[in-house]
């Protein structure tokens, strides 16, 4: 008999909790309408920075290309004799492969490859996930 009362009491207490939450404001974030605050450290899509002269800061050392665990970065490098430094003639990141591990950003000696806080990059074709230099260099 006491068992029945104990059980009933446990059941009622459990129901009390759900009822309590019934009257509490939901925690859902209504996504397209409101967005959650994203940490500045968020590892989103990649971005190359320009240096103070307005030209690309990357000198094509290929470290990011080598360190990438999934080989999603590829680049072509040429040497500008006049400026006595290297430039990339193409810099492509395949975001279909990228796993956003952040190793490339960490390894960049010039600190010119950074993450953006952009996380909405869905497309209709796989091809448009491959971003070329004009989209990465901003």
């Amino acid at each position: 008999m006491t068992k029945i009362f104990k059980y009933t009491w446990a059941i009622l207490k459990g129901m009390g909790i759900t009822l309590k939450y019934f009257f509490i404001k939901p925690v859902t974030v209504q996504y397209p309408k409101e967005k959650i605050k994203i940490s500045p450290r968020w590892r989103g899509t990649l971005k190359q920075l320009k240096n103070e002269k307005g030209e690309e800061a990357c000198d094509g050392c290929r470290i990011c290309e080598k360190i990438c665990p999934v080989n999603c970065i590829s680049m072509e490098v040429y040497k500008d004799e006049k400026k006595n430094r290297r430039f990339t003639s193409s810099y492509t990141v395949n975001f279909g492969r990228c796993m956003f591990c952040g190793l490339c950003v960490e390894a960049c000696p010039k600190k010119c490859l950074v993450h953006t806080t952009d996380f909405e990059f869905c497309t209709y074709e796989r091809e448009s996930l491959i971003l070329t230099k004009d989209k990465i260099l901003r």
Binding site: I11, G14, M15, I17, T18, L19, Y21, F22, F23, I24, P26, V27, T28, Q30
Partner: protein, 351 residues
């Protein structure tokens, strides 16, 4: 004249009187008048049932959502996603109707109809208001239980015909469960019938004019009724025929489109019927404060019970099939016998 204070039942009676006058004036035979009268009621009932199902589905979504810290549907139709269920209904109508390759086609097709029609017929004897009852039969409650036991058959048909092991298990479980919980369900209502001395729905409601049976020794019967009723409509914690995490979706795994819609519709109409009977038998039906129209009072009570069932559903885990049988036969059935005994003594003492 109709006054605002008068209820829908009075309006219905007034309309019937006008109809009778009209027929008498034109000399239309009684048969036609009768069929027009009942046909109008049936159409009204159908509209009511489909609206109820929509409201119940929407309510289920919102109640579950808010208990789970969600909002539920918020976008469709503007205000709090009110038209989400309508959109879903349209989607179900337009969906392809898949029949599995090796299914028993005929039974597979018939099962959703067999499940829906009894739940529809059950509405006939539910007293919505003073005179608002399809047929005030003197075996009223027996009709409902009789029809609701047909639902077992249809669920088993659906489970068997789909030719899928999960649906088969779901159908078998459902048959076992619904048959064993029918007993406590009927026995718990028996207490009320003994108190009133009639099976007629209107008599039962009238008997509760002063005090609801909920506040008499019939309280125990109410609890048994709610538990057994939850099992009867296959809702958590007794939803083992559907048991999503075990049997995928139980007996309706292989159903899609409109047929699935029928199963879902019947689930919600059955929930409504069970709640409506609870409101009628234990909470005074359309009795209520004089300023409140009877139908509002009745629907309010019914929806309270519906909310209770939803509250159960979103709080509790699911029983295991053998424990469910144990609970039904070894606990609920003796308890309902005890309830009958108690009511019998009470009725005698009162006399």
């Amino acid at each position: 004249m109709i006054y605002a204070s008068q209820s829908l039942g009075d309006l219905w009676v007034w309309l019937l009187e006008r109809l009778a006058e009209f027929c008498g004036w034109l000399g239309i035979p009684e048969v036609i008048r009768y069929s027009v009268e009942k046909g109008a009621y049936a159409i009204g009932l159908l509209v009511f049932i489909s609206l109820t199902a929509l409201v119940l589905i929407y309510m289920e979504r919102k109640v579950s959502a808010h208990m789970q810290l969600r909002y539920g549907p918020m976008w469709t139709g503007g205000w709090h996603g009110w038209s989400q269920t309508i959109a879903d209904m349209i989607k179900l109508l337009l969906k392809e109707d898949v029949i599995p390759d090796k299914a028993d086609r005929w039974v597979h097709r018939v099962a959703p109809i067999v499940v829906f029609v009894p739940s529809l017929l059950g509405f006939l004897v539910i007293p919505f208001d003073k005179h608002l009852i399809g047929a005030d039969l003197n075996v009223g409650i027996l009709i409902i239980f009789g029809f609701s036991s047909i639902a077992v058959l249809s669920i088993f048909m659906g489970g068997w015909a789909s030719n899928n092991k999960y649906t088969l298990l779901g159908g078998l479980r459902s048959a076992a469960q619904m048959i064993s919980y029918e007993l406590p369900l009927v026995l718990s209502v028996l207490g009320v019938i003994m108190t009133v001395g009639s099976l007629k729905m209107s008599d039962i409601v009238m008997a509760q004019k002063d005090v609801w049976f909920l506040f008499t020794p019939n309280f125990l019967g109410f609890i048994i009724y709610i538990i057994a009723g939850t099992a009867e409509v296959n809702r958590t914690p007794f939803d083992i025929p559907e048991a999503e995490s075990e049997l995928v979706s139980g007996y309706n795994t292989e159903y899609s489109g409109l047929k699935y819609g029928f199963f879902m519709l019947s689930e919600f109409t059955n929930t409504f019927i069970i709640s409506a009977i609870a409101a009628t038998f234990f909470m005074g039906g359309w009795n209520g404060p004089s300023w409140l129209p009877g139908i509002v009072s009745f629907l309010g009570k019914t929806y309270l019970i519906v909310f209770l069932l939803m509250w159960f559903r979103w709080t509790f885990p699911r029983f295991r099939v053998d424990r469910l049988m144990d609970f039904g036969w070894k606990f609920l059935l003796p308890l309902s016998f005890f309830n009958i005994l108690m009511i019998a003594v009470w009725v005698l003492v009162k006399k």
